[in-house]
Symmetry: C2
Subunit: 443 residues, 2 copies
């Protein structure tokens, strides 16, 4: 059985020798940096397919099968490689396991074992140096760059794949990967179209090569587009994002901010109207008895995450606005001084123990000059709060930006000062905290 430390696919890799990535890329050694196997599989073959397509007529039956097989092989990656093996977000009976391992192989994106190991590292070390396809290294890098260029296996974060090493389907597929790829990627679609309606070449070019190309590019988008385009409703400290477009391209893997926050959930989209055919398939398999133990994160925690992220954004918005001078930074005024200044023509108005300078606002007052003038030099708390007119929240907000002072306690508006009293009291406490704690052994 394969061991965790066993190198993946490349038998020639020797951890003792310095890896090629440890020598800088130069004009004379660049070709050694390139992963030619991958270049062949994800660039060379598709290019060859495109050229072949010029001479190959497309039959509608072949086209229909190519699209169907696109969905199957896509699901092999999303429902199989990703949600079943990398995240164990549900369990599958043997027939479903074999189906997913087969069609997943037909997508030509590496063995389950290799794919899941990298993907677990991607989740555990998202956006860091240890992330195999970190978007911080560029959109192109996260899309295909990380496969085109050789990677130092030591760089990529270590993860526990002991469960996969104990899984006979995974191990078998890993051992016989090349045979699986050739059969499921090319021969099987050719057999279908060839035996079915005698279109061997169309099956090879369209349902084989070009279909591989589209599935590859689509699922690669989970690593690139899903870390680059869209909203972050759960956590904005890392790059994963939710976007309907990515979801459409990736059979529902586009709600990637959710997925990175709740990777063990078999769903990527949680609302019924969101596009997640991978989830729908898993659910359908469950109805057929092929899948079970579908894991869901508790809704309470999902909602909490959303609320916290909204709070974070709200706090950022709040910090950008002018909320007036905080009460504790306002100078203290005597009541008599307030009245004196108001009599001398300054448009001062006291509401809730705070003095406001409304001089420039009198002419703009929506309730008219007379109304606002009637409060000048008085305690207008009651007037402003319903005595004459129950001002809107907007009026309160506006008023707070006109603060110029607070009135000293012992004046007519004593009651409104209790806030300030408490404020001074807390200030006093804080400065006496240490001596207090020392006196009271209990802490």
């Amino acid at each position: 059985m394969a061991k965790t430390t066993e190198p993946n696919r490349n038998k020639r890799y020797d951890p003792a020798k310095p890896h090629i990535t440890e020598t800088p890329l130069t004009r004379s050694n660049w070709y050694k940096h390139v992963n030619w196997l991958n270049v062949t599989l994800i660039i060379g073959v598709p290019l060859y397919g495109c050229i072949q397509a010029l001479w190959t007529p497309l039959q509608w039956k072949t086209a229909a099968f190519a699209v169907l097989y696109y969905f199957w092989t896509g699901l092999g990656i999303t429902a199989g490689y990703h949600r079943l093996w990398a995240h164990t977000s549900y369990k599958a009976r043997l027939p479903l396991q074999i189906f997913l391992a087969a069609v997943g192989g037909g997508a030509v994106e590496g063995s389950i074992r290799w794919w899941s190991r990298d993907h677990r590292a991607h989740h555990r070390y998202t956006d860091t140096e240890k992330d195999p396809y970190s978007v911080r290294k560029g959109l192109m890098y996260s899309h295909i760059g990380w496969m085109v260029m050789k990677q130092n296996p030591k760089r990529i974060g270590r993860t526990d794949i002991s469960d996969l090493n104990d899984d006979p389907v995974v191990v078998w597929q890993h051992r016989h990967y090349l045979k699986v790829v050739i059969f499921m990627g090319l021969i099987f679609p050719m057999l279908v179209t060839g035996l079915g309606w005698n279109d061997w070449k169309g099956g090879f070019v369209y349902a084989g090569i070009l279909r591989i190309f589209f599935v590859q590019q689509a699922t690669f988008c989970v690593n690139s587009l899903a870390h680059w385009l869209g909203d972050q409703p759960f956590d904005d400290r890392n790059s994963p994002r939710d976007h309907i477009l990515t979801a459409f391209v990736t059979l529902g893997e586009g709600y990637h901010n959710f997925h990175h926050e709740f990777p063990s959930d078999y769903r990527n989209a949680i609302r019924w109207f969101q596009y997640d055919p991978t989830k729908w398939s898993i659910w359908a398999w469950k109805q057929l008895g092929l899948a079970y133990d579908l894991k869901q994160f508790r809704q309470n925690e999902i909602d909490k995450g959303r609320v916290q992220q909204m709070q974070k954004k709200l706090d950022q918005a709040r910090a950008k606005l002018d909320w007036g001078i905080p009460l504790d930074q306002l100078p203290v005024m005597e009541w008599d001084d307030y009245q004196e200044q108001a009599k001398n023509g300054r448009g001062l108005i006291a509401v809730a123990g705070v003095v406001h300078d409304v001089t420039d606002f009198i002419k703009d007052h929506p309730g008219g000059r007379a109304m606002i003038n009637s409060g000048i030099g008085k305690d207008a708390t009651a007037m402003f709060n319903g005595g004459v007119y129950l001002h809107s929240n907007a009026a309160h907000n506006l008023l707070s930006t006109m603060r110029i002072g607070v009135i000293r306690g012992g004046c007519e508006i004593r009651q409104n000062l209790s806030d300030r009293c408490i404020h001074n009291f807390i200030k006093h406490i804080i400065s006496n905290y240490n001596s207090y704690v020392h006196q009271n052994g209990e802490f």
Copy 2:
């Protein structure tokens, strides 16, 4: 010149005599409760127009003019009656005033003076008994019921319309209202279509009566639909709401939650992509020198209102979720007791001074059983927070629901207890607040 107390239109109203609305509606007096003039104007005439339309061919020129005149008379109400006179949200030069008073009259919704008085009461006493068209009395009531049935003038909130009583255009239009209505509502459109392309009857039926009907129903929607359908981004204590549909019907008056919060703003919609042709017209008149002093509420206050309302909704959402037992309600545990229980097989894990029971979660742990087991009975604070794996926010949220106790100070994780220390300290302060204040004369 008209006085504020002057009754509106109905010369027979005597404030000394008991008003009909003070006697209950019965089978024998119901017809006395009905406002027959209004019934004729807003139900009878449109009905007559519909019947006439059956025999009247519609010429395309007449149709085009009817639509154009619909917009003009609609603007008379929205840009004229509403934003110019009721709210003085901008100033207009005499030609524009006359134009708006004329086409506004053509909408057949009462004089500027009567309309604005009621509308100011509607803003000042929104949703209360003094609101002339309170939606709290039903959607139909706020739409036309308040006009179809007689209203007790004493019920409707008093407002200051001294500015309107000083406005010669307003007073002239009020004095000659019936002539204005007949001329602008019917004769003027007939003259246009009759002299223009000899379609006198089409002008009467389509550009006159049916156009009046549509303008009336559309603008009535501001009182009904705009208080019933949509979002409340600024304040949800009262009924006004924002909805694109209402905006489409009412030439942009559908952002009504904004409007009730910032009634002195000449805009109802503040984003460029929102539909507010009334705002666009006022802006265009400004470019032509016909309008000036366009008032806008400060953006800072608008943003503050939005942030506060979002915060309110967020707090409501937060209150519905399970955030775990608050720290101050948890029992205190000794460190040795914690270790003892963990050794005896209970899945207890201490993170940041708090003990969590993860027994039921071990099998579900996305990082595997071995990982989580390695923290049991230990201080797992560092492990959980990056030492082994930097858990997501979701994991922290989940953890908090598993709280069962806090560890007594003086244990290994002393530092994490400072929160609890402060908590006890504040508790102490609160219970000693009164005696503290009395000792310290300064307050």
